[in-house]
Subunit: 238 residues, 2 copies
């Protein structure tokens, strides 16, 4: 028996495609999003496009004006830091809840598996940008495992909103001599993040709620400050 044919409406697929166009940088902050143009480009009619844009607006990715349509939201540094503040708070809450109410053995196994695969990746020789991409995937998986285990839909959707942002910090970091040391700095940062992950899992297993919460908050906070430094370095004007 076919379990359940995963059916998606055009509105849903359109939402994801437009979201990807934004977070990938294909659509840049400030760009207007005209319904007809997007519809032609995606091969659907204006109705699912409008539905998608409404959802993305509700998520905070788009600006909207009555009779003026949608545009990719302009993210200044403050907005980015705001998003991180909410993320670190909510993900911290997730860790506290998990630690206090107990974590399922299956989730522990998945977390341990994630930590193991990440360790193999991060502490092997020959660091590369492909490996960095794989680490980013593993990092996302780690955070998602915790969110799922927390099992709180308000928490999950709040983090999701605060997480989907235009790629202000994924841009190429200038073209001067710093290019050679950047990969190494990234590796160092990722290894630090992995150590955070290890200790967070440890605290959760021990039922240490506030320790797990605080460490997750600090963990995300370090990403926040890294993003801040990168942006302030790229745009000294503000």
């Amino acid at each position: 028996m076919p379990k359940s044919k995963t059916v998606l409406t055009r509105a849903q697929t359109t939402t994801e495609r437009v979201r990807q166009m934004i977070v990938s940088g294909e659509l840049q902050p400030g760009d207007r999003l005209q319904a007809q143009m997007l519809a032609d480009r995606l091969g659907v009619s204006r109705t699912p496009v409008n539905d998608a844009l409404a959802v993305l607006h509700k998520e905070g990715l788009l600006d909207y004006g009555v009779n003026r349509g949608y545009g990719v939201r302009r993210f200044d540094l403050c907005t980015l830091l705001d998003a991180f503040d909410v993320r670190l708070t909510l993900e911290g809450l997730a860790c506290r809840l998990i630690a206090e109410r107990g974590v399922r053995a299956e989730t522990v196994a998945q977390l341990r598996s994630n930590l193991g695969r990440s360790e193999d990746l991060l502490f092997a020789p020959n660091w590369s940008s492909e490996k960095h991409a794989r680490w980013r995937q593993l990092n996302l998986e780690f955070h998602d495992l915790l969110l799922e285990e927390a099992n709180n839909s308000y928490l999950t959707s709040g983090v999701a909103s605060a997480r989907s942002l235009p790629p202000i910090l994924d841009r190429t970091h200038g073209s001067d001599a710093t290019d050679e040391i950047w990969p190494l700095l990234e590796l160092k940062f990722s290894q630090d993040a992995w150590r955070d992950h290890v200790r967070i899992v440890e605290a959760i297993e021990l039922g240490q709620g506030s320790r797990a919460e605080n460490m997750m908050k600090e963990h995300v906070f370090s990403s926040r400050e890294k993003a801040r430094r990168i942006i302030q370095q790229l745009l000294p004007s503000g």
Copy 2:
């Protein structure tokens, strides 16, 4: 010059009307929401109704199934407590941010005004249900003032989602002899809440971030526990 004629689309007004129908209890959890029926009832077409339902679904008020439409989400006790967990965490964050980065004098004045009006209401004789309604309004205003001052859109929308719920706890509390003492208990609870408000403003003015955060968390937590007690008393089965 007319400042700016507040223009609202039918989709927006429909969203608010349907939301009110849900939080007021006119539409009960589990009810299906058929587009045509709602459209007739509200005097619009199905398009703005569908937009409204999509938004309310994104907010977490509605369930949705592809080709099956929307229905008012069933809120069990766990979901309600989840919403409170997010609220107390985010509103706590708001207080911390305000205290740490400093609060505008204008906002302080508005908060003080709110506290004054609430005091006049809560500590005067002849407590009544109309006065209770006015207190609820003042309480909402207090929390909104803080959210606005925090000036973080992710925070604001997260709290908004966690706040719009069906009226599980606004129901009439049974019909036995306890009816006579309920109002007095409500007054006592409201007075306690007001004292929390006073101390939160005090902490914010002194720049005591973590104290403000903790007190706000405890303040919302007491509402959470009150809701839990009421529901568990009403529905001993769960």
